[in-house]
Amino acid sequence: MKLEHLSAVELGRKIASRELSSREVTAHFLKRTEAANASINAFVRLTGDEALQRAEGIDARLACGESLGPLAGVPVGIKDILCMSGELTTCCSRMLENFRSPYTATALQQLLDAGLVPIGKNNMDEFAMGGSTETGVHGVTRNPWDVARTAGGSSGGCAAALAAGMVPLAIGTDTGGSVRQPAAFCGVVGLKPTYGRVSRYGLIAFASSLDQVGPLAHYVEDIAACMESLAGHDPRDSTSLDTPVPQYTAELGASLKGLKVGVVREHVDHPALDDSIRLAVARAQETLQSLGAELIDVHLPHTAYSVATYYIVAPCEASGNLERYEGVHYGFRKLGEAGASSPLDAMIARSRSAGFGDEVKRRIMLGTFALSTGYYESYYKKALQVRRLIANDYEQAFGQVDVVLGPVTPTTAFKIGEKINDPVQMYLEDLFTVGANLAGLPGLALPAGACPSGLPTAIQLQGPALGEARLLNVAYQLQQSGLHQPSLAAGVA
């Protein structure tokens, strides 16, 4: 079997048993990436030499009889928003084009400690603001299933890299659906963990009460294994949870008999939902029933307001977080002509205006407006109140059921350029994903077969806080039942 068809866990097993070396596995995926990246643009930077060196180090440790984690020696792609000491981390923005972080993100450090081998940085929307991986300074990522279509975003590079068989595992971030939506568009599995489950230290901030690191892979068991390394408390992130990390892989395979699955009526009956995706959810319902789960209709009545709520909360937090880019301590600097303002103020405004792209500026403006005197109460405070109502809806639903089922996106992957000039249309893409971020809950995107045109469809499973283990088990059972059949994009060599 070709290496790109194996799960990350299987690759790890073969590396641990020394049937394969990490070096040959890493070289194999690097070669595939070098061949495919020109057309897909899933990676903005490859660190091949460092990766091979690291792989050789893992092989040497294994040769000495050292026992490493289940994913030791396995190559991984990292979204260009997670800092790695001494390496470039650009957030795909001109603002950070020369930024070399002096430290490593905790989530990434935990993967390095577990022996994973990063081969490069994945493309994304600038500062993770977007749903199509079109706004980054390094250009658009193309969907390997149809290169005229987007890979989704903002973690589009991670998802496309998987679909093209460039890596068996990738690490993205999800602020409003940025792991789940690209996973759905590219036919791979993606998990947004509970807020606080994974450290945000070294994750370049977009919206601090929503941002969360999450893994993408072809196989559910790879997500489970990866979470065992990613999750955990970090003294450097006071919002990271200090509750024990379960053995996610040990819980895969538990019977679903008696499991209560809520079908979110506001999502499944939504008029914007494509029939192909409604059918995918129906297939999941049938499979779950055949596995002994009980289906119950549930309601998230404030669904219709979730996008508007999100597009106040996230830009408000972003406008504060991105104040730090002023051309002083790091990042892009351009001098301006001091008119009424001082040369310093002119430099700051010019640096920000030339360093940020259009979507980032749009969100900073929106957030600054919503927080400004006279508007704070009617926009920001109002949004925080509706956020509470959205969280209450979930709480009520999880009083009745163990997990909820619905779609990830209204449609399958849309065309490149189709929505980029209409921000509101682009924002509505996030309709089914932002709720989990606003409420801080885990959500998982699972592919559910192709639509008639051949593009991947997907379903979403959401759970109560810290319900990752159960979500992963349900997804695993659906995978084992054939609803999700891990596969590279059709036509990928």
Partner: protein, 98 residues
């Protein structure tokens, strides 16, 4: 809510951003559309609802009270657009009146 070019200039001043004169009107229209879109929240009855700024009921996780090394001076300055090896350098904050 419709936004005027003056509204845009006012917010841009707060956000420390500049927009080319020629783009101001179009940007005001676009931003106005987004603001109108989010204004649908005014339909929701939120009387007495406690605002939710954060998804977690946080408690403080304590760590041992020991010194941990931070960044060195050189590391902190390494990404500076301009520095003299000791300080970050910026253009003048004050200018002499002619």
């Amino acid at each position: 809510m419709e936004l005027s070019r003056d509204d845009v200039l006012q917010v841009a001043g707060l956000a420390k951003l500049e927009f080319p004169e020629a783009e101001l009107d179009a940007f005001a229209v676009q931003l106005g559309k987004i603001v109108t879109f989010v204004e649908q929240l005014s339909e929701v009855d939120t009387a007495g609802v406690e605002p939710m700024a954060h998804p977690l009921d946080l408690h403080s996780a304590k760590r041992a009270d020991v010194l941990v090394a931070g960044l060195s001076h050189a590391q902190a300055l390494a990404n500076a657009p301009k520095s003299d090896g000791e300080f970050f350098l910026v253009p003048p904050v004050l200018v002499k009146k002619p």
